[in-house]
Symmetry: C2
Subunit: 255 residues, 2 copies
């Protein structure tokens, strides 16, 4: 690519989150940056899109960087749709999402707003990467990630990604990393523990809480990599077909 790539940046923690501000600063070194991100937190939104409500979208200036920025009232997937359809003059060469404040490894990928932005870009034929740090705090230290994010991004621009594949990159909470490990998604789930309370009028309500449970001992998983201080990189696809089960299903008596 001879000219500077056009890069779309989004996230799910909202446009002012330190994670996306870090990501923007790295992308400004690589290309021309357009930011389209939610105006507030959209964590846990999965691949939600706004069909029963209106969307607001307006230009905003958050810092003195060269990037162009828009905030929207929508979900991360909405942000990508409106960026591509309404805001950007041409299809971006790359979409990056994050840096998420918190893990999107393993099964978290299906609940993740960060990854939904990357997946939405992938669906629209744009090479895409989601970045996340295993630290939920607002003032997490993103500095050690910057060189790695730049290197991974340049690799994607240089090598491309196959159609239907986006990258899910997670960083352990650390000052230094052992390197990048290409992984598969660990088999895991959340064991829910609802916190049951009464409101001031005596009516019961619930808070969703839960405990992440890794059921996978594989050393080729993202959970293993992160626990061993590697940066995990999982290629993620959105053809959800369980091809291995098609033959068996054809033997069922369905008619």
């Amino acid at each position: 690519m001879s000219k500077r790539p056009l890069i779309l940046v989004s996230n799910d923690d909202g446009i002012t989150a330190p994670g996306i501000r870090t990501l923007i600063s790295v992308m400004n070194e690589i290309g021309d940056v357009v930011v389209v991100a939610p105006d507030g937190p959209q964590s846990g939104m999965g691949h939600a899109v706004t069909i029963d409500n209106i969307l607001h979208c307006s230009k905003i200036k958050v810092d003195d960087g060269p990037q162009v920025e828009y905030k929207t009232s929508g979900t991360p997937a909405d942000c990508i749709k409106i960026a591509v359809s309404e805001i950007m003059k041409r299809k971006p060469d790359l979409c990056v999402s994050g840096i998420n404040h918190g893990s999107n490894s393993s099964i978290n990928v299906i609940y993740s707003g960060t990854m939904s932005a990357a997946v939405e870009a992938g669906v629209e034929g744009i090479p895409a990467i989601g970045f996340s740090l295993l630290d939920y705090s607002w003032d997490a230290n993103f500095e050690p990630l910057k060189a790695h994010i730049k290197k991974i991004t340049l690799n994607v621009i240089e090598n491309g990604l196959p159609e239907g594949v986006v990258l899910n990159v997670n960083f352990p909470k650390a000052e230094t990393f052992k390197g990048v490990k290409v992984c598969r998604q660990a088999r895991a789930n959340w064991v829910e523990e609802f916190d049951k309370r009464k409101n001031p009028q005596g009516k019961t309500y619930y808070w969703l809480t839960g405990k992440f449970t890794n059921m996978d001992n594989g050393e080729d998983t993202d959970e293993w990599a992160l626990a061993n201080n590697y940066i995990s990189m999982v290629p993620v696809q959105f053809d959800l077909t369980a091809h291995h089960f098609i033959q068996k299903l054809n033997s069922w008596n369905l008619d």
Copy 2:
């Protein structure tokens, strides 16, 4: 299975939608039914979960059937979590979601609240099926679907599903069907067309609209099956790892 199976029913159109009422009536013929469904429409919610807000959940009686029913203020994925964790005495033998008023074929699966309920059940180790009808109208005719839904459900109870796989079943809008076709997810996307308007105060806002674009000519796809009056059945997995790309990624210069 000698005793009657315990069946969890949910959806994304809300607990009073004709689609779920039809599904409940079929499931009552098969097992003991517990319904936990949203108190209003949650279409397009993807795999969203409610982490920044409280959940309400209360018992409700909608009709004279033998099922036990709860409505919640949450998303379809929330419904499954609260059903398994708080409401049901034991893990259900099966979870069915739908019948959705509208298609969840092809790429729609990633935006689908109906399928997120089925996938969430799958993540929790419960065999699960999402059912959808390619008719968005509230008074769609669900009658022709009932015998097929019963047969598919009995097959799942009899044969089980492998760990990590749920079924995505779509019905064409028709009085009769050519049969069930086991399919892969067609490669498709939505081409967005935002409807840009001004509010009474002159501020711009948007409605998300779009046109579904099938980019897949395969006759083994759900889109082909539905266009040819077959019921489509796609086995869906939530290990999103693009295993075919791992070897190539390992050749990148990342350290």
